[in-house]
């Protein structure tokens, strides 16, 4: 199992957002999380790389293991956790530095000695090729990344994770700020990364979950209702709530 949580509960101040969540996410697959707004799917995602802890009012209980290692342990270094677990956010958040520097940003944070220029160029090209962005940006690597289109920025946000060789990619509604054409381009890319990375993707878009994932998790009010293969969930949902949600009776 790539990700395993046991009895994971989380509070924002007094508000409990996750109740005793036990989940296992398979290695090398795409697992999508669906559920109505505020059901805790993004919160769950943000607990895996502990980015939720930026806010001091967040309190977590329970265990999270990533490839058998306890992420929540006291002596764990957050830097190492986040190196292994990359994250893509709802709105593309490319940093206001050059495209090239964006790709190298994570790598430079973690490398203690200076990399040769050639090695850097190589890493940049490799990462950008992997996200199908190389041909469009290769002549303007020095441009500020925020001048790219949203689709390109989101791809860049994925690309800058890759040089750190993460094993897990967390994606928090990565297409919600994109138009349909860009959405399908980014989805294709995510599908393309399948196998090499374990991908956990939160989405509001049922069709996207159905098209672009192997397994599907349905959450409601901070609890996991159902977790099965995607086809199964959409053809024969095991719970009434799941069926109602999938058919759009609430959301």
């Amino acid at each position: 199992m790539a990700i395993e949580t046991k009895g994971l509960s989380l509070w924002y101040g007094d508000f409990q957002a996750l109740f005793d969540v036990d989940l296992s996410v398979r290695e090398g697959q795409i697992t999508s999380m669906i559920g109505p707004s505020g059901c805790g799917k993004s919160t769950f995602l943000r607990t895996i790389n502990r980015i939720n802890e930026r806010h001091s009012y967040v309190r977590t209980e329970g265990g999270v293991e990533v490839f058998g290692e306890d992420v929540m342990a006291e002596d764990v270094e957050l830097v190492q956790v986040r190196k292994q677990i990359g994250m893509v956010f709802q709105r593309p958040n490319a940093l206001p530095i050059s495209i090239r520097e964006n790709v190298l940003f994570g790598l430079k944070l973690h490398s203690t000695k200076k990399m040769s220029r050639a090695k850097q160029d190589d890493e940049v090209e490799k990462a950008l090729r992997r996200v199908l962005l190389w041909d469009t940006v290769k002549d303007r690597l020095g441009d500020v990344a925020t001048s790219l289109s949203l689709e390109e920025q989101q791809k860049l946000c994925i690309a800058r994770l890759l040089p750190m060789k993460p094993r897990v990619l967390l994606m928090d509604e990565p297409c919600s700020a994109l138009d349909p054409k860009a959405t399908s381009a980014v989805e294709d890319l995510i599908w393309e990364l399948r196998g090499e990375y374990t991908i956990l993707i939160v989405t509001h878009n049922m069709a996207q979950a159905r098209r672009a994932s192997d397994e599907c998790i349905f959450m409601l009010m901070g609890k996991v209702i159902e977790h099965t293969k995607t086809e199964e969930m959409f053809l024969t949902p095991g719970h009434q709530e799941t069926a109602d949600y999938i058919e759009g009776r609430y959301g």
Partner: protein, 317 residues
């Protein structure tokens, strides 16, 4: 034909309230006018000040003043029989005091802004912000008084010098005066950096310091330069505290323990004792114009620096 006409007329009268200018339109118009006047007044006031200062000093500056002597001579003897109007010593006084003040204020205010903006939370943050704003509200004459009555004996004792009213005294006082407002502006600049940048960097594994140094500070650069400039402007423009703390002795300073005399303080101290329209009166206005020009040049330089920096960054591969 008539029936449709009647119906149209009927509908028109029913919609009349919506179609024609009502109260809201007039309120909107008036509000727009008032705000426009407000905006215009800023320009008018600035221009008037400029014209007034120019009228009093510019003619003299161009026609009668020996510009070379004005700028390069340290001899400021406006009341002698054959007066010399050299402001080099005054400029040196202002520059030395402001320079020392910035040496003190920049690290303190940037540090304070980073702490308040990036580290402090909840109550600590609120209390600190209020305190900093309170510090900014202390009148300059009070700072001058502190310089006279506390710093003066302190410096004499600590450094064993005969006079405590000097560059060091005024620089420290001015630094303390400028720091709060610089802190406030710098903190605003840090706050304007979108949180998504910090989150992105943190998710890539950056530590807190890496987030601040590699993402937040570069993104806020423009605002931070503005904060520093405001401090420099404050330093150049400050009069009362500087008048009280520098010793007000015309002098080219060679050490922080020399008493000096600032441009602003000279104007304030001497303008009341000159006859309106006399050469002395006019040369004081010429100093005012010089202050204007210096501030203008500093602002321009900073502007070029900030823009140039951005362009270079986007060109660098």
């Amino acid at each position: 034909m008539t029936s449709t006409k009647v119906e149209l007329a009927h509908r028109a009268s029913a919609n009349a309230a919506a179609l024609y200018r009502g109260r809201a339109w007039w309120v909107d118009r008036v509000a727009q006018g008032v705000v426009f006047l407000g905006g215009l007044s800023a320009i008018v006031f600035i221009l008037s000040i400029f014209i007034f200062v120019a009228k009093e000093g510019l003619g003299f500056m161009v026609a009668d003043l020996n510009i070379k002597e004005f700028l390069t001579s340290p001899e400021w003897r406006p009341t002698e029989d054959s007066p010399t109007y050299g402001i080099l010593a005054l400029m040196a006084g202002t520059a030395s005091v402001t320079g020392l003040a910035m040496l003190i204020a920049v690290p303190f205010s940037l540090g304070a802004a980073i702490y308040i903006g990036e580290f402090a939370t909840g109550k600590t943050r609120e209390v600190l912000k209020v305190l900093v704003e309170l510090l900014a509200a202390i009148p300059s004459v009070v700072w001058g008084f502190i310089g006279l009555s506390i710093m003066n004996p302190l410096i004499m004792e600590l450094f064993d010098v005969p006079v405590g009213l000097n560059v060091l005294n005024a620089g420290v006082i001015l630094g303390l005066m400028a720091a709060p407002i610089m802190t406030t502006i710098a903190e605003d600049a840090l706050k304007a950096v979108p949180d998504s940048y910090r989150e992105a960097a943190e998710a890539l594994g950056a530590t807190r310091w890496q987030v601040i140094f590699k993402v937040v500070l570069p993104s806020a650069k423009k605002g931070l330069v503005a904060a520093i400039l405001l401090g420099v402007g404050r330093g150049f423009g400050e009069t009362m505290a500087v008048l009280m703390a520098t010793g007000h002795a015309i002098n080219l300073p060679t050490s922080p323990f020399d008493s000096v005399c600032a441009m602003t303080a000279t104007i304030a101290a001497e303008l009341g004792e000159t006859a309106q329209g006399s050469p002395h009166y006019q040369v004081l206005f010429a100093i005012g114009i010089s202050l204007f020009l210096i501030t203008f040049v500093i602002n321009m330089a900073a502007d070029v620096f900030v823009r140039g920096g951005l362009r270079m960054r986007s060109k660098k591969a």
